[in-house]
């Protein structure tokens, strides 16, 4: 696609529920990142995929968070037993595998609100 697409744009859920957030990167981009941006803060790294595998998942806060990218394109961030502290904007970004200038191309994020 023309840009990084994230769905849903907004998600409201209740504490304890399960949530999935989807990211469709720019076509041909092999690297994909998830970030979490809490209110008034800069984005914080969660996980990075190179192809289908998670190359760095050191930012996942706990085992309630999990992400997959089974075919090396679309990625899903999964949050189990949501807590109010999970409320944030979840940003996805991608970049080409070659010609790595470090620039990431971001989507518009998914705003998650946990009541």
């Amino acid at each position: 696609g023309a840009g990084v697409s994230q769905t849903p744009s907004n998600k409201v859920t209740e504490k304890g529920k399960y949530v999935e957030l989807r990211c469709d990167p720019i076509s041909g981009h092999t690297a994909l990142y998830w970030y979490r941006q809490s209110l008034g803060q800069g984005p914080e790294f969660l996980i990075y995929f190179q192809g289908t595998g998670a190359a760095d998942d050191s930012g996942l806060p706990n085992d309630r968070f999990f992400a997959v990218r089974p075919e090396g394109s679309v990625s899903t961030l999964k949050i189990q037993r949501t807590e109010r502290g999970d409320s944030a904007v979840y940003l996805c970004a991608s970049r080409p595998g070659t010609g790595n200038t470090g620039e990431l191309f971001f989507g518009e994020g998914s705003r998650l609100t946990v009541l």
Binding site: A31, Y33, Y35, G40, Q41, G42, P43, E44, F45, Y48, Q50, A55, D56, G59, V89, L91, A93, T101, G102, E103, L104, F106, G107, E108, G109, R111
Partner: protein, 115 residues
């Protein structure tokens, strides 16, 4: 671990004037990338300008330029001829050229442009 600090939470500038946004960072590495990203209300992070640490020449992109002081670990952004469309959150970010692929962001600064 690398850290990025943006000490000014908010700034304002008159349309057509010049404004400088400050950023400092901490690292023990000698080669890295530095970025300024803009985040309008749409939430999408947009790259403004990029600097490679090994380059002594300051990066410029049209009305945007940086003052990169490697020894002082300072990376400020200058916006000339400010336009209403420049109003947004601005984030400074760091990325290593080896090892971790993740961007480390500052807390951001809100820029208001007054007509």
């Amino acid at each position: 671990a690398q850290t990025v600090t943006q000490s000014q939470p908010e700034m304002s500038v008159q349309e057509a004037e010049t404004v400088t946004l400050s950023c400092t960072y901490d690292t023990s590495e000698s080669d890295y990338y530095l970025f300024w990203y803009k985040q309008p209300p749409s939430r999408q992070m947009i790259l403004v300008i990029r600097q490679e640490a090994y380059k002594q020449q300051n990066a410029t992109e049209n009305r945007f330029s940086v003052n990169f002081q490697k020894a002082a670990k300072s990376f400020s952004l200058k916006i000339s001829d400010s336009q209403l469309g420049d109003a947004a959150m601005y984030f400074c970010a760091y990325r290593s050229t080896s090892g971790s692929e993740k961007l480390v962001f500052g807390k951001g600064m809100k820029l208001t442009v007054n007509p």
